[in-house]
């Protein structure tokens, strides 16, 4: 039996989710940007943008997460404890996620479970239900199809809503596709859903047409395999100013820092987002820096996404959301650079 939901019923859905113990997270306007934040009212949410400014990554890999607390008593005896799990394990509905953003945590999962499990990530993942909405629009920065994702992809989503537009072109109704068992359970446990198809057909065809593949990641990887010392890196990224914007907004970048905060008597050890684009990222205490220049750091970013990660885990560390291009202050578009690498890879040898 097909299921659908009308935008008018989002409030019912949110209310019933809250009744079932979930906090509801959805894209909302904050000043001039759109962010995933807790919402009360369905009319607050913003679904007509290509993508929110930040991905919902922070609800899986927190920007700032205490991983340990310590205290030292007067005699010098130290006690340590795990932080409270209340926030980590809070059931969370993340609503209105684009397929590229939904796929991000699924890709990060591979490194977070590599030989040992980062429970902070996994518990958050387990406690959340991701309701994705397929895209009806794309801009020049979007390239999900080039990295194996799709505007109506289901990776990482528990439920996918496929929009159907009315005669004015506005989206009001959605076809509901449960993707995981967790998603199906969630539909059963909450209200607002309706049996039967939406009155109109899906509205995703046009965007699929628009999102032509721009490069082949396998060919890119082949070039990168031998391309570490290629002169390409000397000039291609000279305009990079080394701000971490692209990494912080990326749904798949997951590097973090561990620092102690507090004084000698008590405090926390915390995990904070970090960026490979910062020059201190690899700086040794001795002053030696294995990646001393911005060009090297940018190469690391592309290598990590399109060579190292696929080699280790079989997937590209990129979902093609295009935030790195949209938000770059100097318009240094990662996808364009990778496109260029693809061209180099396709050029006949000897030219």
């Amino acid at each position: 039996m097909a299921i659908s939901i009308h935008a008018n019923n989002f409030q019912t859905l949110f209310d019933s989710a809250r009744d079932a113990g979930y906090r509801v997270i959805a894209p909302v306007r904050d000043h001039t940007v759109t962010l995933f934040k807790p919402v009360e009212k369905a009319d607050q949410i913003v679904l007509d943008e290509i993508l929110p400014t930040k991905s919902p990554k922070e609800y899986f890999l927190a920007e700032h997460e205490p991983i340990l607390t310590y205290c030292r008593d007067k005699s010098g005896k130290v006690s340590i404890a795990d932080p409270s799990l209340e926030e980590v394990m809070q059931p969370t509905l993340i609503f209105g996620v684009r397929p590229c953003d939904a796929a991000g945590p699924e890709i990060i999962r591979k490194v977070m479970t590599w030989d040992c499990d980062d429970q902070f990530f996994l518990r958050r993942r387990e406690a959340s239900v991701v309701v994705a909405i397929a895209c009806v629009e794309a801009d020049d920065a979007c390239f999900c199809t080039s990295v194996g994702q799709a505007p109506d992809g289901t990776e990482g989503a528990d439920i996918l809503l496929v929009p159907s537009s009315d005669e004015t072109g506005a989206v009001q109704e959605y076809l509901v596709q449960p993707v995981t068992d967790k998603g199906s359970e969630f539909i059963k446990a909450t209200k607002g859903w309706k049996e039967g198809n939406p009155s109109r057909a899906a509205a995703c065809d046009e965007v699929k047409e628009k999102l032509q593949k721009r490069f082949d990641p396998d060919r890119v990887r082949e070039w990168l395999d031998a391309g570490f010392d290629d002169p390409y890196w000397n000039t291609a990224t000279l305009s990079c100013i080394g701000c971490g914007t692209c990494t912080y907004l990326c749904p798949t970048c997951h590097c973090f820092d561990i620092v102690d905060e507090g004084d000698l008597t008590c405090g926390s050890r915390v995990k904070n987002w970090d960026s490979c684009q910062m020059c201190q990222f690899t700086l040794h205490a001795s002053g030696h820096n294995p990646r001393a220049t911005q060009n090297e750091r940018f190469r690391q970013r592309i290598m990590h996404k399109f060579k190292y990660y696929p080699q280790l885990f079989g997937v590209v560390l990129c979902t093609g959301c295009g935030r790195c291009q949209r938000s770059c202050p100097v318009d240094l578009a990662l996808a364009k650079l990778v496109e260029r690498i693809y061209q180099l890879a396709c050029e006949p040898v000897g030219t």
Binding site: Y70, V78, D82, P91, D117, A189, S286, Q311
Partner: protein
Amino acid sequence: MEDTNLQSTTAVLDNIYRPSLMKLDRVTWETPDTTTFRFLFMDDSERRQFFSQYKVGQFGEYSTFGHGESPFCVASPPTRQEYIECTFRAVGRNTKAMQGLNEGDTVGFRGPYGNWFPIEDWKGKNILFIAGGIALPPLRAVIWNVLDRRSEFADVKIIYGARTVSDLVYKNELYEWEKRNDVDLVQTVDPGGETPDWKGRIGFVPTVLDQAAPSHENTIALVCGPPIMIKFTFPVLDKLGFSRQQVYTTLENRMKCGLGKCGRCNVGGTYVCKDGPVFRWDTLAQLPPEY
């Protein structure tokens, strides 16, 4: 949805970032800024757990609470299961804080992490240790491991150099090794770093290695030192006939997690925290120069 599992907050977290608590048992000053710490596990089950995994060459994350964590190698061998030791120089925030600790104080330790020297494959072989300055600690664990199981190995030769006499670490142990007749120890200091009563050689490690000219036959060479020493030592080993399969070294890169998650210690696609810190020369030669 009535999923009570989700509501539970009493679950225990299997926290991979949680260290074992260790008691600082003994502090030995090696040089004015380098110390050796001996730690005792506060929980004996953690000690047993550690030694059930630990192999020589592995490292750990040592922390003072309030100042952060630093990775360095375990400098004591798995043949001595009562304690672990590490030797470090105070350069960063945490290492400086550690040097301010007193015997009896508490530190955190996570490990063992990374790979190890495959010494089980070296039984019956000659072992040649070449170290410079503060880089003796990673080899010291191997040296003691080999010496504690002396009969399983053939000749043992140690070439160790430092900038000056006062920069030599493990002076008591050097004295002990020097006296032993089943170890051949060659000590050297850089020109100008000698004292009037210095009995060892004067010269850089690669030069001294060249003069000592150990045979490559049935020999494994372990090289640890500053990058500049390694750079000049490899050609000498090459000249002496060592193949790249006979030479091992260790790498150090900045690390935070030690578990392959935080994303900063990679050299090309190789993670020093998981695929290292021990590298055979032929593997190392294939890595890009990101260390």
